[in-house]
């Protein structure tokens, strides 16, 4: 009825009206979303461009033309991909790929390239940096020279005019003007009681703000004198100093003015070396080829304990993963039974260790294992020197790992158990299988399919679990005759000590060893994952 009544009324309307209306209706929501989408797109691309522009400044300032080219190319590619209607798959793949490159590929490549250099303390910067550092630190005060009051002035614009020093001699109160040529007596000046010039005829005296803006020029500015040169010590004092060492570009060496000794640049080690073998402390970063790798392999103190550490490292990773898995699975099975009351409460209590920050917990456990003051010895009335003996220290760190790790295994096992259909277990019962038989033949194999990858990743994680060792034992106990390799040292803690313990930071060497560790972990993981696939083929 209503349609019939409504029909003519509608028909009475102008024909164009509904059609336009319809059109609008169909278009409006669409254009609405596309407007938002358009807006988001513009915003994001704007952000990308803004980021690129922001990142370009330091690159330009540092004259990293390759980096700049890379930045421009990447930004251009992103803009191109999202501004054309084509390349739909690329639109989805680009963000992930970029993040992969930035957060995965780049660090790996950077580590690999560092492994071939001597980057570390004493060899951090460029040769130019080293030369500057050597020259600056060799400037000494001329003995007995005066301590001048200093004002910094310029002729012309405070920001760009040539800098001159207005220097007041403390003894005579005579004011001189010092420029690159030397000292000349000044004209009319106003001097404070402390000897600082506040105004000088023909010059603009810079205030601290103006002067600090030209900091670099001021620190590099010297006024030549007979005994050396007048340099600034801050903005209000000047002294007469002499550079003790200078770089000679022709012979590529550093020469000491007083002793006449010279140190020639040795590009193979990145340092200035004298004829008698003495090296200047300030070196620079150079490529050393495979030196870091061969050092790790040939140095007895490093390669000697390597095998022992590797075996313990395997034992630790296997132990931490294996025991936590067994315990976690056991508890999960126990709480899986519907006959247990208050299961949720138990579950919450059991997951507690997982909720604690392991960083803090490791430190707490370390103190609990203290021989005299620790909770464990006090509680059990024992007197075990936990971290003093190799076996007890190893047991202790595994126990800590067990406590920290089983809740995770419990959680994943519970999840996996719930995915196993109950009928399957009922069927085994019907077939007459016992509890153990049905567990080993049905439940466990089915559990292993989702859990094996997790176990492998847990193994790989524990293999490099730096915190677990460093925060508890630091690798202790150490044999009396070897202070670099302790009984609980993992490869990673051992590496850390080798690279950063001995003579400061040695990033190049550390990178080389981490490549070795990476190769070991990668090999293990590859083999394990291959075996997992076989497992899946058998059981699925």
């Amino acid at each position: 009825m209503t349609t019939k009544l409504g029909g003519p009324a509608r028909r009475a309307l102008p024909a164009t009206e509904p059609s336009r209306h319809q059109k609008d209706e169909s278009r409006q929501p669409k254009s609405g979303t596309s407007l938002t989408a358009q807006f988001v797109k513009i915003l994001l691309l704007g952000l990308v461009t803004a980021f690129a522009v922001w990142a370009a400044f330091p690159l330009i300032a540092e004259e990293h033309w390759f980096g700049l080219a890379l930045l421009v190319a990447t930004t251009a590619a992103i803009l191109y991909i999202y501004l054309t209607p084509r390349h739909i798959p690329a639109k989805y793949l680009v963000p992930g790929t970029l993040f992969l490159v930035v957060f995965q590929l780049f660090p790996v490549l950077y580590t690999a390239s560092t492994a071939f250099t001597n980057f570390g303390d004493g060899h951090r910067g460029s040769k130019q940096d080293a030369i500057v550092a050597i020259q600056t630190s060799s400037v000494t005060r001329v003995p007995g020279s005066a301590e001048y009051a200093l004002s910094i002035a310029t002729q012309g614009d405070p920001a760009t005019g040539p800098i001159v020093f207005l220097i007041t001699d403390p003894a005579t109160k005579a004011v001189s003007i010092g420029d690159a040529e030397g000292l000349t007596p000044a004209g009319a000046v106003t001097v404070t009681s402390s000897g600082k010039v506040t105004a000088a005829e023909g010059y603009t005296v810079l205030n601290a703000g103006q002067a600090s803006a030209r900091s670099k020029e001021i620190t590099e500015f010297t006024v030549p004198t007979q005994g050396g040169a007048i340099r600034s010590a801050g903005l209000s004092r000047a002294y007469e100093g002499k550079a003790g060492r200078a770089y000679d570009a022709v012979t590529d060496s550093i020469r000491d003015m007083t002793s006449g000794k010279s140190w020639v640049a040795d590009e193979s080690v990145g340092a200035f070396v004298a004829a008698d073998g003495e090296r200047l402390a300030q070196g620079w970063k150079v490529n050393v080829g495979f030196d870091n790798f061969t050092r790790a392999l040939t140095d007895d103190t490093i390669s000697g304990p390597f095998l022992r550490t590797l075996i313990w490292n395997f034992a630790f990773a296997l132990g931490s993963t294996g025991f936590t898995f067994v315990l976690g699975l056991f508890i999960a099975l126990a709480l899986h039974s519907s006959r247990v009351r208050g299961r949720n409460l138990y579950r919450i209590l059991l997951v507690l260790p997982y909720a604690m920050p392991s960083f803090a917990m490791l430190l707490v456990w370390r103190d609990m294992f203290n021989t005299d003051f620790g909770l464990i010895n006090n509680l059990f009335g024992t007197d075990v020197d936990w971290f003093g003996g190799a076996a007890s220290a190893r047991l202790a760190v595994i126990l800590v790992q067990l406590w920290l790790g089983y809740p995770y295994m419990f959680l994943v096992s519970t999840g996996a158990l719930q995915a196993i259909p109950g009928e399957l277990l009922d069927a085994t019962k019907v077939d007459g299988a016992g509890v153990w038989q049905s567990f080993t033949n049905v439940t466990l194999p089915l559990l292993m399919i989702p859990l094996t990858p997790l176990l492998i990743s847990s193994f790989a994680f524990n293999f490099n679990n730096f915190n677990a060792i460093w925060l508890t034992t630091e690798g202790a106990p150490f044999p009396a005759d070897n202070t670099t390799n302790g009984a609980t040292d993992l490869l990673i803690t051992y590496t850390y000590r080798l690279a950063f313990g001995g003579s400061g930071a040695q990033y190049g060497f550390a990178a080389a060893i981490s490549i070795f560790i990476f190769l070991i972990v990668a090999t293990i993981s590859t083999i394990s994952f291959r075996r997992t696939r076989q497992l899946e083929e058998v059981y699925s």
Partner: protein, 418 residues
């Protein structure tokens, strides 16, 4: 379609060129703008640890206001030295860095700090051993503001007399232990991996040394004392105090529990520095501070002297202002007093020390305890000492053979000094 794509590329290219051009224009503008824009406001960036940065802030502001510049104080709470090195390498470091003087060697070899030229007058106003500590290769790097050294803090209710020798200390501690008044003879942190800093007074008293000195009085990295017969003898004495001997030195006393054990009245003697006093006061203990005693018939026990220092960063953007701040402002007593109030360590400035010593009786005692203190070696080679030395100490205290252990430690150390 093809035309459209080409158009998009063209637009992109134009846009990119535009932004790039803008970018370079901007940077040029910026470069020429900065001086005049900053004419009214230069900027000085200071890095310090959490406690000190708080104390520095009012003074930084005052310095800024006096000079018409802005001063930023940033707190670096962890790994200050490494953070500073990495940051200055990348050009994002501060202009002024506050830190311990034993960083100097490493900072210099990495070209991270500049020497500071102090006038004779300024030098005379600072404790002589503090000036000695910051002098490296004949140059003064930075301006010291506070010193710290180990002393013997004792609970005067349990031990009214300051022991004159290690033997007297051990005897008194043993007696207290036998009377069940304490559970430990001495609280000196050792830990599982040893602590070279805290054991050094005993080591030096027993005749051991770390590095010899050359004619100029600088440490000579080629003359390594660890592994020499003197050091073996010294370690034997440490071993005799250890777990298999008197039981005065124990690995179970760690950096974490040594002060707490003392404040918990479980031991009558604590070897520690001024930083421990805050906790001791909080525990309402009656205490006194005396020099760390030496062995009977041995040399004087010399603790290490640490000097807190203001450094001028070599790669700072505002070195002239940094030099001004460090040489002409840090050397004023007001700042040193404020920093003392933030953390009670004896000021290195004599004027500041005199100003606060009336209110704090401990200061003079710390200064007396540090009278023989030797500046911590600042040479980069010192980095090679800490770990092997500490571990050898822990092993010997645990009962290992001193000769074998120390010889091995000496070998490890000389191996890592190139």
């Amino acid at each position: 379609m093809r035309i459209r794509t080409a158009g998009v590329i063209a637009v992109c290219a134009v846009a990119l060129v535009g932004t790039a051009a803008c970018g370079s224009n901007d940077s040029k503008d910026k470069a020429s703008d900065t001086p005049s824009a900053a004419a009214a406001s230069g900027e000085l960036v200071i890095w310090a640890d959490d406690k000190r940065s708080e104390a520095l802030k009012p003074f930084a502001e005052k310095f800024g206001a006096e000079n018409g510049v802005t001063v930023k104080v940033q707190a670096i709470s962890k790994d200050q030295q490494t953070t500073f090195l990495t940051a200055s390498q990348q050009g994002s470091g501060p202009d002024v860095m506050v830190g311990a003087h034993d960083w100097i060697g490493n900072l210099v070899q990495n070209g991270a700090i500049d020497p500071v030229q102090l006038s004779d007058e300024q030098k005379n106003g600072i404790a002589a051993n503090a000036i000695k500590a910051i002098t490296f290769n004949g140059q003064t790097y930075g301006v010291p503001y506070a010193t710290e050294n180990l002393g013997l803090i004792r609970n005067t209710e349990l031990a009214p007399e300051a022991p004159a020798t290690v033997e007297a200390l051990v005897a008194s501690g043993k007696k207290l232990k036998a009377e069940k008044k304490v559970s430990e003879i001495l609280c000196l942190q050792v830990g599982q991996n040893g602590d070279a800093y805290h054991s050094y007074p005993f080591y030096s008293s027993a005749g051991g040394y770390l590095f010899g000195t050359n004619a100029a009085g600088d440490y000579d990295a080629k003359d390594l004392g660890v592994g020499k017969p003197e050091s073996v003898e010294a370690f034997k004495k440490l071993g005799a105090l250890g777990e298999k001997g008197d039981g005065a030195l124990k690995r179970s006393i760690t950096p974490e529990n040594s002060i707490a054990t003392f404040t918990g009245k479980k031991c009558a003697y604590l070897v520690s520095g001024p930083w421990a006093v805050t906790d001791v006061k909080k525990a309402n203990l009656k205490y006194d501070i005396s020099p760390v005693p030496g062995f009977e018939g041995g040399k004087e026990a010399t603790p290490f002297l640490g000097v807190q220092t203001f450094y001028v960063a070599a790669k700072g953007k505002n070195k002239a202002l940094a030099q001004e701040f460090v040489t002409n402002y840090v050397t004023t007593p007001e700042l040193a007093v404020a920093l003392y109030n933030a953390e009670p360590r004896p000021p290195a400035l004599t004027a500041a020390f005199d100003q606060v010593k009336g209110a704090d009786a401990d200061l003079q005692k710390w200064a007396d305890a540090g009278k023989n203190a030797v500046p911590l070696p600042a040479i980069p080679e010192m980095a090679a000492i800490w770990d092997p030395f500490g571990k050898a100490e822990a092993a010997v205290i645990g009962g290992a053979d001193a000769e074998k252990t120390v010889t091995a430690a000496g070998k490890t150390i000389s191996g890592s000094i190139k």
